[in-house]
Symmetry: C2
Subunit: 398 residues, 2 copies
Amino acid sequence: MNRRHLLRSGAALGGLLAMPLRASLRPEDLIGKSKWDLDTPALCVDLDKLERNLAAVHTRLDGTGVGVRPHVKTHKCPALARMQMEAGALGVCAAKLTESEVMLENGVPEVLMTGVNVTKRKIAHAMELRRKHPGFIQAVDNETNARDLQDAAAALGIVADVVVDVDVFGRSGAPAGKPALRLAQQVDRSPNLELRGILAYDGPSQHVHGHAARKARTLEAMAPVVETRELMDAAGLNLGIFSGAGTGTYDMMDTLPGFTDVQVGSYLFMDCQYLDIGGADNDEVYEDFESSLTVLATVINANSPQEKLITDAGSKALTLNQPPARVIGEPGFVYAARSDEYGIVTVADASRDYKVGDVLELIVPHCDPAVNLYDVIFGIRGDRVESILPVLARGKSQ
Amino acid sequence: MNRRHLLRSGAALGGLLAMPLRASLRPEDLIGKSKWDLDTPALCVDLDKLERNLAAVHTRLDGTGVGVRPHVKTHKCPALARMQMEAGALGVCAAKLTESEVMLENGVPEVLMTGVNVTKRKIAHAMELRRKHPGFIQAVDNETNARDLQDAAAALGIVADVVVDVDVFGRSGAPAGKPALRLAQQVDRSPNLELRGILAYDGPSQHVHGHAARKARTLEAMAPVVETRELMDAAGLNLGIFSGAGTGTYDMMDTLPGFTDVQVGSYLFMDCQYLDIGGADNDEVYEDFESSLTVLATVINANSPQEKLITDAGSKALTLNQPPARVIGEPGFVYAARSDEYGIVTVADASRDYKVGDVLELIVPHCDPAVNLYDVIFGIRGDRVESILPVLARGKSQ
């Protein structure tokens, strides 16, 4: 059949996948242009704010003994990971194997993969990656998987770097205490695995409202991990890495014995979810980092402009995450991205009259999955496009 | 600065953007393989079911006088749009300009863009597209925009095909009645615009539970549009197109005078949202079309397999849409994709024991935004990969 033949044709497919971006997205056309002239929806990062965020986390942690290992699942962008390394990161974290690969293949030398690889296919792929890139570190959270990693590393004749993921809230990791200890000992005994330490991410604490409440909760959640680390230490295991925490808890970990680095991701961009958690100095708004990431959206229908504006940025441009996107400069706007293709703004109060064609600038609800919708981020300085950042690991959820 | 130089480098960027898919995604490696060996999360379509869905909508509408103009925002895949044309579609709909462009540039001859282009940049781009592709039809929903379209078409020396979008539920479109009539007359008088008819999409009715309730609601919602069409008809306007409806209401439009075609999208794939609306023959489950689209996910943690399984498919693989993904063959599983990178399955009852490495097959909550997360859809026949369908318009939300 003609149709099946078309679908099967490898040659045709290769040609289609290599199709260049259309003319208007070529950097030479857009560099130097005003951001207000970009085709929308457009994902933008304010480079001044980004650079201040990049520096702020190091300034804040300077002298605490806690290092920074940023999580690239937030931006999926090797150019930003390289900036993080230049700013003083120990390495980066990645969530998935294909995401790790994109980083390692694009100039990011140190990648700790926080997820596990459990299938034969993925383990083989991970070991090939480790053979090529000595800076690749893998997580493990069960004994069968540790045996599989050992076998695959032995088959390739390599020694692979491994951290044990310790469970904090029942999502990933080996149970704290003896199970995690036994697993670390197993890794330590495995001739083709090199135990580098542990990983323990406390997800639920990141968005607890209020700095003091957040600190109390994460220290309590991490207590079993600290005890587990002490068991491992007493057993003479290597604990060069004790990695955890995120943008909500990065400044609370220096009291944990042996803690080495924070896996901050959102600090670079910020989003509505993190703005709402409150900080040490301001209980209502988290001000440690600036909102550098925005989406530009255009008003496409204004039949009742005093009540409602329709834009071209719906859930395919912003995701369904809550709280809703915030329109910069318009606290009286409530933005709904429930519709796939349309944004619906309920207008309680407006600073000016809006009409079709006007552009709104939005802070995104949750940065990680929003960035994952776009092929490029426009780097903006002032109001001008200075750079175009390809989101090379976009869609790399394998 | 070194870093800025790197980001600015157009040459380096071109190279990165053209980076080929990694070896394991090359079709020659995967064609003929079992779907259960695919790297996960993987988006799959069962080709037998897809082909039956493709035929079913035509069979059902045969003899009613209502045609089919499928909406490609669902699949964003020119190969599937070409199959829809071969199956007898009058043309396809697309939501956005870049999506329309990908279709027209990849062998889909007739594209009706249901969204509007309101900025200078987009209007110029749309007119260039119309000059190149005579099968491109644009929507308009306000008088200023109609003037801008006329000016841009005149500047290029072309006549552009236009439909008037008539508002049904306050999201897009000109108000029904005299405003829509005046707009259609304005288009009709514009020397460089060709009025082709009207468009009226009734979004909220698509997911009303129960066939009878759905029909009553959509006929009521469409009544002002029908009256508007009569005004236009009396004014001697061309109404060759009267397009609307979707997968939930495709079989209810033949009583509307002059109605020409349904903009079905989800019928090809189905999803949990549509399964729940109920059909004419079964009030609980909508059975007009089969669930052809699935995501494969791997169990990556099973510390408490009687209560909970963790998978590698979270919101970046499934979106946050509700109702939750359904695990095929396991009605006792409740799937939560709230976490960006992880799926969390609450196990009330299981048909068998599950362990790390097992693969689950999921019906997605809402097909359109889920497909928009993936670069390719694997075409599956039986359990084997038969074809790889590039989602070429993925991320084309501009």
